[in-house]
């Protein structure tokens, strides 16, 4: 049974895979497609026939997106730099997680009064590596199977516009800087057991926030990947 909205969703995902086309461009093309389908239906074609003709009239996604790239090469590079920045934020998040677990191990060493905390440090690093593996597995599971749509749409809305994405990155970096400065000041000022406690607490807060930002970025990547499509979409004229 032909479903127009499902077919349009599949058609959109073919365009969304091209970084040359922004979400607004794809929105505009979809608006055109729907008007063409409506006009062809009025002239007597069935919904499926109208959709096939409209898609072939619009042209193959590769060619259309290639023309967009020629029209505005600056936008393409802006998009690439954004993803490079997102990759750096991802790496910083993972590093924070490992640092925090290492700090936790060091804190526990001091609390238990053990002089040589090598075993605890190794445990901390191992825990960090297991967490990293679990995160990578989660990201792969999300990519291949997809997250529940409710979570995806809410978290995608958080990174929907360029302003929000920039705000996420700036917020993350501000948290990292403030946590690092605070812990450094505390340890330098007090050099006591309480300061070590405070350092571990701040490291844990940093971990939670880093993981939260990491999840947002992973979900953003997942949302860009698009859903699997059932029906084949004609692309040649």
């Amino acid at each position: 049974m032909f479903d127009l909205n499902d077919s349009i969703r599949c058609w959109r995902s073919a365009f969304s895979q091209h970084e040359e086309c922004s979400a607004e461009d794809v929105q505009e093309l979809e608006s055109h497609l729907r008007e063409e389908v409506a006009a062809l239906e009025r002239s007597g074609l069935s919904e499926q026939e109208a959709f096939s003709v409209s898609v072939s009239r619009l042209g193959p996604p590769d060619e259309v997106c290639g023309e967009y790239a020629k029209a505005d090469p600056g936008q393409l590079w802006g998009h690439r730099i954004y993803w490079m920045a997102a990759g750096v934020v991802c790496w910083l998040s993972v590093r924070s997680l490992l640092n925090a677990l290492g700090a936790l191990a060091a804190g526990m060493t001091l609390l238990l009064g053990v002089r040589h905390g090598v075993a605890f440090r190794i445990a901390g690093v191992a825990a960090g590596l297991c967490s990293l593996s679990a995160l990578v597995w989660c990201a792969w599971a999300c990519y291949s199977r997809g997250l529940p749509q409710g979570i995806v749409s809410r978290l995608t809305a958080l990174t929907a516009t360029r302003t929000r994405r920039v705000a996420c990155i700036v917020g993350f970096l501000a948290v990292r800087m403030s946590a690092w400065v605070t812990s450094l000041l505390l340890v330098r000022r007090f050099r006591t057991f309480e300061a070590v406690n405070a350092y571990v607490s701040i490291a844990l807060i940093r971990t939670v926030l880093s993981v939260a930002f990491l999840v947002v970025i992973v979900v953003f990547v997942v949302s860009q990947a698009g859903r699997r499509c059932g029906s084949a979409v004609p692309t040649t004229r």
């Binding site: 607004e24 461009d25 929105q27 505009e28 093309l29 608006s31 055109h32 729907r34 008007e35 063409e36 409506a38 009239r57 619009l58 042209g59 060619e63 259309v64 023309e67 967009y68 020629k70 029209a71 505005d72 600056g74 004229r237």
Partner: protein, 113 residues
């Protein structure tokens, strides 16, 4: 014989600017207008119009904004700006020169049939 790709590409910008010079419009309507005026002899690959509109907007010749349409969905409307009118006048001059030269050549050419 269908229109040559080079001719379609070269004429796209002056056609779009001329249509927008009459009044603001949106992508689908621009394509329909070109089809109507050419008696369907000129059939653009619809998707190719939008990169042209993007390029014209980036050059500052046209501007656009999203508005709600009568269908209930949003539509992107375009209108021409002052630099666009200047560029359009130059296109008009160049095309009229080419038209004049070709007209003279074809009137003077001996009949081949």
């Amino acid at each position: 014989m269908p229109q040559s790709r080079e001719l379609v590409a070269a004429s796209a910008t002056p056609m779009v600017l001329s249509i927008l010079n009459r009044g603001e419009s949106y992508g689908y309507a621009i394509i329909q207008e070109v089809r109507r005026l050419s008696d369907s002899e000129i059939e653009w690959t619809d998707g190719m119009l939008y990169p042209v509109l993007r390029r014209l907007e980036k050059q500052g010749l046209v501007r656009s904004e999203w508005r709600p349409a009568e269908t209930g969905k949003k539509r992107r409307y375009y209108w021409i700006e002052k630099p666009g009118r200047t560029v359009l006048r130059e296109h008009q001059r160049q095309w009229l020169v080419a038209h004049r030269v070709l007209s003279k050549l074809w009137e003077q050419a001996p009949c081949l049939t």
